[in-house]
């Protein structure tokens, strides 16, 4: 088993500070962008910007602070499959929301607006 060989990888402090700096920069971006309502330019733009920033930050944390970048292949596969299963949940649920509902129950209009602003 090769699982235990990668465990004691020592990450230089420099890397941690660099990642911390990047996280701070992205936080600043979030705060800065929050002053403008991007909906004026394109309906879903607000959520797209917010989610992109959040995804990049989460990826940095997982890769460096949680050491996944230095972990065994098996650990990486497990992390990716977690995300893949989340994608299944989202994609198959959206498959329902994005195609026309069979009937039009009272909350059907709600169902559209929650996920498709504008």
């Amino acid at each position: 088993m090769a699982e235990h060989t990668a465990e004691h990888h020592i990450v230089p402090l420099k890397v941690y500070f660099a990642v911390f700096g990047a996280l701070m920069v992205f936080t600043a971006i979030t705060v800065f962008v929050a002053q403008f309502d991007l909906e004026h330019y394109w309906g879903p733009l607000n959520i797209i910007v917010a989610m992109t920033v959040a995804t990049i930050k989460a990826t940095l944390v997982v890769l460096y602070f949680m050491h996944v970048r230095y972990s065994s292949r098996l650990t990486q596969v497990i992390v990716v499959s977690g995300l893949f299963w989340l994608a299944i949940l989202l994609v198959f649920t959206l498959m329902d929301y994005l195609s026309e509902p069979a009937g039009q129950p009272s909350w059907a209009s709600n169902r559209k607006t929650i996920f498709l602003p504008g």
Partner: protein, 549 residues
């Protein structure tokens, strides 16, 4: 050397290694934790069974005369909650998986023994909260907790029940995590992936579902509790939420949860059939991979619970199609088991009777699932007793039959004593008859239009309901009998010896009951699973192990 091992271990084993309560409650031994689970889930099964009896008593007459509609709602809800979350989900993995998995791998314990004990304590904490819920009057939402009824209108303890389910989920996640790491890292020398018993493959697939699915249901019931407590709009349309979203999130876990219950049972059946027919499982690789296929594709079919819930027609078609497809790996197993039995040297001991019952009953349960997967027919059958009959054929006829078969098969390993074979066969026959009499009429009455979850019904359904209730009382006798003869056998049963079935598998090479460290030597595996020539060799040579070369 081998014969000495036999003598020393027969006196010193995991059961007599400490007799205090503390030695049980603080044990890190996977075998003792398995027995702790056995004890606790049996209690939950008994409670769930009492609720089942109340349901069947009420339904003997068309009028709602035994209890009010509200009480009836609570009774069927508590039956479902107890049986699903506190018996079926933990049943085979937490009892037999815990007991057997490390032994089958030739390991001393699971990868994280403390986490294993923690999972039992979490289970007990969650279970206690559910018992408190029950004493406080229970809940009346159905085990599916659909909002907005559950989040706004129900006057029962939904929040407490939700917290209980949330907590219990973590016990399931920890068990799955433990098994997965154990299978990856603790296999004995020579035990390659394709030498693993199919029981282990089934548990690997189950662990996958437990780890990837359970967090979703945990967060869903938590969101429900939050909506109920703080009026946050998540699922209630009045607050800007969406009830169909709850159904998506709930069934994302709860359909795969069906496979958490049935896959381990299929693993047990593979072991029973191979060992009771003395043949290598026909198509070993197909049976192994079909478990993984079920685990993965089982996540893509949840919308078949929502055909009548305003889910879009397009989504319904996709979910229906994949549901048909997911029947294929189950069918692969059934065909391969049948092919294994063909020309095998079949012995009709109790475990094999359960295995044969499983094949028949699970096939009926699975095939009627295809009726329900059909978009058009489901509109007629949705929320009728046909659905109730279908999932009881899968859950009782499949999961519980497999559980009982496995308990009988490994009882000599767990206790060192044989159960009385005659009583075993009688109770298996009673369960088979009682089960079919209980649930077959429900297919008919459901098809005729009897809805589920009603305490009063049209008089023309009465005959079928009486048949069903009569069957339930027979079934109850069949379930109670093993409690007595198992208890009797612990003291008075015939001494089992290491390998009473002349079965293959590492668990049969150690003593019964096994020592705390499972093996007094390091087992080395040199051949494929289910090769019975090797077992004969051991017998002829009078040796304990044949592979420490």
């Amino acid at each position: 050397m081998a014969t000495e091992v036999m003598e020393t271990t027969s006196t010193r084993n995991y059961l007599n290694n400490g007799h205090t309560v503390k030695s049980w409650l603080l044990t890190l031994d996977h075998k003792r934790i398995g027995l702790l689970y056995l004890f606790s889930i049996s209690i939950f099964f008994a409670i769930g069974g009492v609720y089942a009896s109340l349901i069947r008593l009420e339904l003997i007459t068309p009028e709602g005369d035994l209890m009010t509609a509200e009480t009836y709602n609570k009774v069927f809800t508590m039956h479902g909650v107890m049986m699903i979350f506190f018996f079926l989900i933990p049943s085979i993995p937490a009892v037999m998986g815990n007991f057997l998995l490390p032994i089958m791998l030739g390991a001393k314990d699971v990868a994280f023994p403390k986490l294993n004990l923690l999972s039992w304590y979490i289970f007990i904490l969650g279970g206690s909260l559910m018992l408190i819920t029950m004493i406080n009057g229970g809940i009346d939402t159905g085990w599916t907790f659909y909002p907005p009824y559950s989040s706004i209108y129900s006057n029962t303890q939904v929040t407490l029940a939700g917290v209980s389910i949330f907590i219990t989920g973590f016990s399931s996640i920890l068990t799955g995590l433990n098994f997965m790491v154990t299978i990856h890292t603790m296999r004995a020398p020579g035990l390659t992936w394709f030498r693993l018993p199919l029981f282990v493959w089934a548990h690997y697939a189950t662990s996958l579902i437990q780890i990837l699915g359970t967090p979703v249901v945990a967060i869903t019931v938590l969101a429900l509790a939050l909506e109920r407590t703080f009026q946050i709009g998540i699922f209630d349309p009045k607050l800007g939420g969406d009830p169909v979203l709850f159904q998506h999130m709930f069934w994302f876990y709860s359909h795969p949860a069906v496979y958490i219950m049935i896959l381990p049972s299929m693993g047990v059946i593979s072991e029973l059939i191979a060992n009771m027919t003395r043949k290598r499982i026909f198509g070993y690789h197909f049976v192994a991979f079909s478990s993984l296929a079920i685990a993965v594709f089982g996540f893509l079919v949840w919308g078949h619970h929502m055909f009548t819930s305003s889910q879009s027609m397009y989504a319904g078609m996709v979910f229906s199609l994949i549901t048909y497809a997911v029947a294929i790996p189950s069918a692969i197993k059934i065909f391969n088991w049948t092919a294994t039995i063909y020309k095998g040297s079949v012995s009709y001991d109790t475990p094999m009777i359960y295995a044969l019952a499983f094949i028949g009953l699970f096939t009926v349960g699975g095939m009627t699932g295809l009726f329900l997967a059909a978009l058009g027919l489901d509109v007629h059958l949705h929320d009728t007793y046909f659905v109730v009959a279908h999932f009881h054929y899968v859950m009782v006829g499949g999961a519980i039959i497999g559980y009982l078969g496995g308990i009988h098969f490994w009882w000599p390993k767990m206790t060192g004593r044989m159960y009385p074979e005659v009583w075993g066969r009688i109770s298996a026959a009673i369960i088979f008859l009682g089960f079919n009499l209980t649930f077959f009429p429900q297919f008919v009455v459901g098809y005729l239009g009897m809805p589920r979850r009603y305490h009063a019904y049209a008089p023309e359904f009465q005959v079928l309901h009486i048949l069903s209730s009569a069957g339930a009382s027979i079934l109850a006798v069949g379930f109670i009998m093993p409690v007595f003869y198992f208890a009797w056998s612990v003291k008075f049963g015939k001494k089992a010896g290491n390998n009473p079935w002349m079965a293959s598998g590492l668990e049969w090479q150690t003593s019964s009951p096994p020592p705390t460290e499972n093996f007094t030597y390091q087992p080395v595996v040199t051949h494929e699973p289910y090769e019975f020539e090797h077992v004969e060799e051991i017998k002829n040579a009078g040796k304990l192990e044949n592979k420490t070369a």
